[in-house]
């Protein structure tokens, strides 16, 4: 047995580092090439005058940044990016917590309900968005029909959900929240079921009612999971262009434009790759902040 163990040690020790490296190098190289590479290129383009169809490219310094910072659509886009992200996140966290509490207990049909609840997250983003576009259609919206039937509006006078700037913003917010809710719910539910059953029982015996138990015991204990749900939620919403593109294409009059959708509009549709790259780089600061917090959460979990 000692001989066998010695053999493992020599086989393992000799092979492991080399074998290990061979096994993960292809993946690492691939990721480097397709993520780090383009990432650096983005910086390169932002400082150039690259255009679609033009193979030449010259260095132009901060010119791109100067012009986009002056543009009102850009300022609108930054503002909207933050509004959509933060507001939808708040709605989602509160809603997901409530829903997670409701889903904790097993009940008949819970599996089916879970299937239904997951649909917004699971369906391809564009398809869910276009479903909403039909629901929010300026003429045939079912919401309008209901409101007219309830006499809140006169026929043909219902609001243009996607055509009026404030309503359009609300609609985009709605769809973002709708899409993100299942994801957060499912993660928070996992966090809740991980809490040992005797903790809320101890709180009950100690005299805590429902709300106190939730806010002073359960939710603080869920902090790492909450952080994960929030951080991912922020990223998914902040970096998304699909919802805006499908629902409003940034309109009306750029009022729902976000950083990613503006980058697409200018960079691809407007052929100005450099401007597009420069705009999309403004995503980076928030990504760095989020990455930092994610690392902190992971580190804290290690320590505990």
């Amino acid at each position: 047995m000692a001989i066998a163990r010695a053999r493992i040690k020599s086989v393992g020790a000799a092979q492991s580092p080399l074998l290990g490296a061979t096994m993960f190098t292809p993946a690492v190289l691939y990721i480097l090439l397709l993520v780090a590479g383009p990432f650096s290129l983005a910086f390169l383009y932002a400082f150039s005058d690259a255009r679609i169809g033009n193979t030449e490219m010259h260095y132009v310094g901060l010119e791109n940044f100067r012009s986009i910072l002056k543009s009102p659509s850009f300022r609108m886009a930054i503002r909207n990016s933050f509004i959509f992200t933060i507001c939808s996140q708040i709605v989602v966290i509160v809603g997901a917590n409530i829903l997670a509490i409701a889903l904790e207990k097993t009940f008949r049909g819970r599996g089916f309900i879970r299937f239904l609840i997951l649909l917004p997250w699971v369906a391809p983003i564009a398809l869910g968005a276009i479903g909403w576009k039909w629901i929010l259609d300026s003429i045939y919206s079912v919401i309008s029909w209901v409101l007219v039937a309830l006499h809140f509006y006169k026929p043909f006078n219902a609001p243009m959900w996607l055509g009026e700037p404030h309503l359009a913003i609300a609609s985009v917010l709605l769809v973002h929240s709708w899409r993100l809710m299942p994801f957060s719910t499912v993660i928070l539910l996992a966090g809740r079921t991980a809490i040992p059953k005797d903790i809320p029982e101890a709180a009950a015996v100690d005299g805590a009612g429902f709300w106190r138990t939730q806010f002073q015991i359960i939710i603080p204990m869920m902090r790492p999971i909450l952080s994960v749900a929030v951080l991912f939620g922020l990223i998914f919403t902040f970096t998304d262009m699909t919802v805006v593109y499908i629902l409003t294409a940034g309109g009306p009059f750029d009022s729902t434009q976000t950083l990613p959708s503006l980058a697409f509009a200018m960079g691809i549709q407007g052929s100005d790759l450099a401007a597009g790259a420069a705009i999309s780089l403004f995503l980076v600061p928030l990504l760095i902040i989020i990455a930092y917090f994610m690392l902190r959460v992971a580190h804290r979990a290690e320590v505990n």
């Binding site: 040992p196 005797d198 029982e201 009612g209």
Partner: protein, 345 residues
Amino acid sequence: MAVVETRSLTKVFKEGELGAVNSVNLETREGEFLVFLGPSGSGKTTLLRMIAGLETPTSGEILIGGRVVNDLSPRDRRIAMVFQSYALYPHLSVYKNIAFPLKAQRVKKDLHKQKVEWAASLLGIGALLDRKPRELSGGERQRVALARAIVREPAVFLLDEPLSNLDAKLRASAREELERFHRRVGTTTIYVTHDQVEAMAMGDRVLVLNKGVVHQLGTPTEVYDNPADTFVATFLGSPPMNLAELSDVIVGFRPEHFRPVSSVNGEAVAFRFKVENIEYLGSEWIVSGTPASGKLGGQKVFSRLNSAQDLSLGGTYDFAVPQCELKFFDRSTEKRVEPKVVSWQ
């Protein structure tokens, strides 16, 4: 007035099946340490949880301090509970853990400090108040759980196998601490365990449960020396009581009463005993084997001795049981009956 009383308390989890707790009647005595003892699945924890209000009874009544509490939530029952895992709030400091019940009961904030420090000093954990539960040892966590329980000055303590998560060595000292704590504080305590040694050592009285039914309620002496039926007789004592089925009665005798003839005085029943296994436990010997003939022939019998030096494996010796130590049980009901005359051959 009994602090805790149950009347015909029953809990059925699945319709049509036997209940987890079946029509239990009990009354605690003021300030006593009452142990619910039974194997796993005996219903002892369910019974405790119903008293705590964490489980709703199917039928029957629970009274605390003379009032029926069936409809009261745990917080209104003036009970405190220590869970098997201690259930300390991991994100709160020891101080905040102990203060939590005060906060929840809306005790005035200026009183918190005083009460927490009182509870902490009672358990000797004053130095740990700023720590978090994960920084504490098993024994320290138990003390924090007890401090959190006592800070509310409840009418009754409920403890659910608090020692089972500790390793053996720690268990003995933790047990002693619990006993000391109970003597100091004097609150009526109900303690659940499957460990009969703990039950005997700690309990003022022991409630022996199996399959949701109470088999006996009595002092350790009573349940050990005068078991009410064969279940109690064999559950307490290690190795368990030797049982022999005779024509119309079951006869039992404890291993410590089954010894070599030379050390038995007075009227006794004698056996020729073939030794098949000898275990040396340091403080005593456990010898097992089979009687050579008679009604007990071929059945495994245990003996506990202070010394087995004269015995060897495979040998046959004269052993005996004092007549007065024989216990008799009815063959069909398995309940304890008066001594009878039996023939052993």
